[in-house]
């Protein structure tokens, strides 16, 4: 469990993540961003809770829905905003966009536009730690939809037989793009699949930051101790459409409203108030700070020069 200062920081990070994605959603609506993006709104407690359990030297792999993972891992919202606007100062110098934000040196091994695409990569990072004798761990995010890709199966099996220090964290937000997990699988929980690899499977409420944190901490500890991987599942929900073109035909307003009532940020804020770590009036300040930070990031980003066209021909080979 984090110390007190830390806990407010976690709340701030959740707010920052939400504000970032709401801002990007607006920019899309205004036609100011190119391409597409997938929003993490509603799921913040998962990334922020789990990543709080990492130690120096641990790494993560992310997904197409990666802004929250990046912010949780400590990436700079200025450079994230710049990347979304395609600027040379962005994390990928404008070449990657939303789906490829990465900071390999820092240990954020990349968002990934391919569903399940980073699961093999996560095993490779675990392999490197193991073979270098480092007691670091890998936290691999993926959606419940990705759990039906072959690479899920192969990766979990490899991690299991070689006891790689990887925690597979399934964010079960109930849907792929439109297909519900109930139709797409015949199991109660994705974590039931852990049996197939002889590894522990754990399901927690993703809306409870502390639950996610604690389960992740335990799984990461096992990983670092050489006891192998864990399949951890956090039950969560995305409030917004899958991406900008989503008409939400596959779910009801009521369902969305129901989940919004259990909002993870609200819950955590209430908890902090109960714990005496946050006063009601501070809440508005935090919200405003977060908004200001994000506005500032996008303003800065907007004023940066475009990358040079010829730079498109660089960085193919090292």
């Amino acid at each position: 469990m984090q110390d007190n200062g830390n806990r407010v920081e976690l709340l701030k990070k959740m707010l920052l993540s939400r504000t970032f994605d709401e801002k990007v959603n607006d920019l899309y609506a205004e036609g100011k961003v190119h391409g597409t993006a997938h929003f993490y709104v509603g799921q913040e407690s998962v990334a922020i809770g789990a990543i709080a359990a990492l130690r120096e030297g641990d790494v993560i792999t992310s997904t197409h829905r990666g802004h929250g993972h990046a912010i949780a891992f400590g990436l700079d919202v200025d450079r994230m905003a710049a990347e979304l606007l395609g600027q040379a100062t962005g994390y990928c110098h404008g070449k990657g966009g939303s789906m490829h934000i990465a900071d390999v040196r820092a240990g954020m091994l990349g968002a990934n536009g391919i569903v399940g695409g980073s699961m093999g990569i996560a095993c490779g990072a675990g392999w490197a730690f193991k073979h270098r004798g480092q007691d670091h761990a890998v936290l691999c995010f993926f959606g419940e939809g990705a759990a039906n890709e072959g690479i899920f199966h192969e990766s979990l099996n490899l991690a299991a037989i070689w006891k790689l220090p990887v925690v597979f964290l399934c964010e079960n937000n109930q849907y792929g793009m439109s297909m519900s997990v109930k139709k797409a699988t015949a199991v109660e929980n994705i974590s039931d699949r852990a049996t197939a690899y002889g590894m522990p499977g754990v399901t927690v409420s993703g809306a409870e930051l502390d639950e996610v944190h604690d389960a992740a901490a335990e799984a990461l500890e096992r990983a670092r101790a050489g006891e192998g991987p864990t399949l951890l599942e956090a039950i969560t929900y995305r409030y917004l459409g899958h991406s900008k073109s989503d008409a939400n035909l596959y779910r009801t307003r009521e369902e969305i409203a129901m989940w919004r009532k259990r909002d993870p940020i609200q819950r955590f804020a209430v908890k902090l108030e109960e714990e005496g770590l946050l006063k009601e009036e501070e809440w508005r300040t935090l919200e405003e700070q977060s908004k200001r930070r994000i506005e500032e990031a996008f303003e800065k980003a907007q004023n940066q020069p475009d990358p040079k066209p010829e730079s498109a021909l660089e960085d193919v080979y090292a």
């Binding site: 395609g86 966009g97 789906m99």
Partner: protein, 337 residues
């Protein structure tokens, strides 16, 4: 063109109309893919279809491209007529074994005793800011695989007619759509009709240079041809429509007339299908008809970048086609666009 009634519809609607027509006609035809049901597909191509045909014939799948393309392969081997949709053509990397080692080869390996009449529809191409993993044009891979056919219609009319032919075909057909074509409109007959697989079409006549192309690039070529016309150069444009089997005869006939060849393709230049077009032309008698080195206008040999101006920089554009034709005429060799 059949004489029946027609109206303006989009490329998207033309594709849908072909599927709907085929499904009404034959209970063995079904559509399977990610989010093709109530969502209507990522690009809305199948919107409304599940309402008509139900979830057993317009089938949402888990995110398991190998699994459901494998399933469609098996269903086709049993005589059904599956249409599998891949949400983005980049995801075809997930089902290469099913397509290349199974669907394409089953007939041959079994000595002709069996076939796989499956259609795999998928939107390819760049220009949408979707970056490196959602913008590729990988159709050349399949042109290189005997046993597969590869179709890439550029117009609503051809989309409907070729898709109906593809569904009829006894072989596995890859049907390449393009995200930037979906909203394109044109008069299309109400009635079903077939555009034969394997036949190119001369969509514009001209004497000075042959532009061979397909898909979205066909429209860039036509734009370029218009611009060139203003400069006194008349281009003949050949829309391949089918990449495999490739109708190089139509291109050769045009080249015999014009003596010059520019290929316009959206995939990366190196080892793209344009290289095959060029090779077939220069390997034959038409080599001696060429009075200029042929040229390719293609994407640069890089992954597709996110930033819009970078993306434009590396993609083929009508302007680059104009430039390539002009340098071919002015200098002795084209630009390496």
């Amino acid at each position: 063109m059949p004489s029946s009634a027609s109206r303006e519809i989009t490329y998207r609607e033309a594709v849908r109309e072909a599927m709907v027509g085929a499904m009404r006609n034959d209970p063995e035809v079904f559509l399977m893919g990610e989010d093709v049901g109530v969502y209507g597909g990522a690009f809305g191509v199948s919107r409304g279809m599940v309402e008509e045909f139900g979830e057993d014939r317009v089938v949402d799948t888990p995110i398991s491209e190998a699994g459901y393309v494998g399933l469609c392969t098996g269903a086709a081997l049993m005589g059904m007529r599956p249409i599998a949709e891949l949400q983005f053509s980049d995801f075809i990397t997930h089902c290469m074994d099913q397509l290349v080692n199974q669907a394409a080869k089953i007939r041959y390996m079994f000595g002709g005793e069996g076939s796989v009449p499956m259609v795999v529809r998928t939107p390819g191409g760049a220009g949408t800011g979707a970056a490196a993993q959602h913008s590729q044009s990988l159709e050349a891979w399949f042109v290189h695989v005997p046993g597969l056919k590869v179709v890439m219609p550029s117009t609503p009319y051809d989309a409907k007619g070729l898709l109906l032919s593809a569904i009829d075909d006894q072989n596995t057909v890859l049907f390449y759509e393009h995200k930037l074509l979906y909203n394109r409109k044109e008069e299309v007959p109400d009635e079903p009709y077939r555009v034969p697989i394997g036949e190119a079409r001369v969509s514009r006549e001209g004497e000075d240079v042959t532009i061979a192309t397909a898909g979205l690039m066909h429209h860039y070529a036509l734009e370029a041809a218009d611009a060139l016309s203003g400069k006194g150069v008349e281009a003949e444009v050949v829309d391949l429509r089918t990449l495999s089997p490739m109708d190089h005869g139509s291109i050769a006939r045009s080249v015999e007339k014009t003596g010059r060849l520019v290929v316009v393709e959206e995939d990366v230049k190196t080892a793209g299908w344009g290289a095959e077009v060029i090779s077939r032309i220069v390997e034959g008698e038409s080599f001696y008809a060429l009075d200029r080195a042929p040229a390719r206008v293609a994407a640069a040999d890089v992954p597709i970048p996110y930033n819009r101006s970078l993306e434009t920089y590396i993609r083929p554009t009508p302007e680059k086609v104009v430039d390539a034709v002009q340098s071919l005429l002015d200098a002795r060799v084209g630009v390496y666009a």
